[in-house]
Symmetry: C2
Amino acid sequence: MLIVGERINTSRERIRPVVEKRDKEFIRNEARIQIEAGANMIDVNCGTRVQEEPEDLEWLVKTVQEVIDMPLCLDSPSPRALERALGAHKGRALVNSITLEKERMEHILPLIKKYDAKVVALTMDDRGMPNDSKTRVEIAGKLVEVLEGEGIKKEDIYFDPLVRPVGTDPQQSLMVLEAIKIIMEKFPGVHTFCGLSNISFGLPLRSLINQNFLTMALAMGLDGVIIDPLDKRMMSSLKASFALLNKDEFCLEYINAFREGKLV
Amino acid sequence: MLIVGERINTSRERIRPVVEKRDKEFIRNEARIQIEAGANMIDVNCGTRVQEEPEDLEWLVKTVQEVIDMPLCLDSPSPRALERALGAHKGRALVNSITLEKERMEHILPLIKKYDAKVVALTMDDRGMPNDSKTRVEIAGKLVEVLEGEGIKKEDIYFDPLVRPVGTDPQQSLMVLEAIKIIMEKFPGVHTFCGLSNISFGLPLRSLINQNFLTMALAMGLDGVIIDPLDKRMMSSLKASFALLNKDEFCLEYINAFREGKLV
């Protein structure tokens, strides 16, 4: 199970000035606390600083990898920023993301191959974001074909079925849950991966919706997630779900987490 | 969705002496607060008082129905107790439960027919409680055949796939989740129903496990549950799950529950 920590993102008010000021200590601490809380990969995202993104992303990669000896999730749609970041990155990065859009394929796929990266593949194409599960699965199928054709292994692909707010489109969560289940069954070896916060956009007590959606998605086979690992509610549900889905035999991790006071 | 309130049960220390003393006011209040909290059916269970069960169950039925004008869930394996309770009951009761065991079939099925009751059918037979999902579905299939043969409609059958502790048997929750999904797909019209607390037996912070299991089971199609509706965590998850599963269009119930301070 891939648990990506999402806190190092310049869209967070606390992070933007820290990146501007090149405050290494703050960024390193953000990385450390996420790993301590249970993340097994750190995401770096500075997409809000469009002009400075390539330089910032490279700096973030170097800064985090100085203290965390693990591959990172490089979160950008910009080929220029990804190239800088990949050049500085140690190990096999997870590039977040590619799509079936012509433009992204042309510019990002060569980077993934050049740097032997793993990849998050959004199930969208030039028609935009799909509404139903069928289109999501179709696009995933085409992406498997294209990516495998370019030598990328199934186990290095993480499909993101693109969660949209359930408050404005009541079918969305069912569609995504179904897409996760079918993708995991139809393309054995691949992973599924998603962010959660979109699902609850516009609703009150968003963490309650996010947590229940995560639990359902895990039951459908989801094996990668990007979250704030310091959100105790979310991490508690993750651990309870692992116990329930036979991913934590005899619930030992769950019991340990309880003893350490990590469950709420 | 059937939400049965489980609080009127003599296995609870607070309830046993109340039933012994025939404290009508206490029982009526327990019924009322469960309906107010969101239950749409009240369970009555006095199985711990084996000798007095028939008389007690009849008294509970009368006492509750004096204030709650709804059918009840009559929770007993005893034909003698069920007969007394059904005789006193107004409307179509839900008898909890029948099984494919010869003895129960012989003595409880005639009561269900005589009183035109709905029925909870446990997926077990004379071989005992099944381990895997396949056996659970097989038994459900035989039960559909037998019950339909006796004139009981599919929509009056609630299958309980019998949850066992995940702490001692790590496969159990997967097996039950799969059984729920297959039963709902294979026998359209029937319902599935389950209690939650067994799943977490022996584990710490049981409400966390129970809540996540409920959320997963709802995603598989579960449409009946027996819970303590005063457990705010459980009811919050139920409402979040309905929003996610398109059973609460545009999340209006969820938003109202939030405004009323019912969500945690």
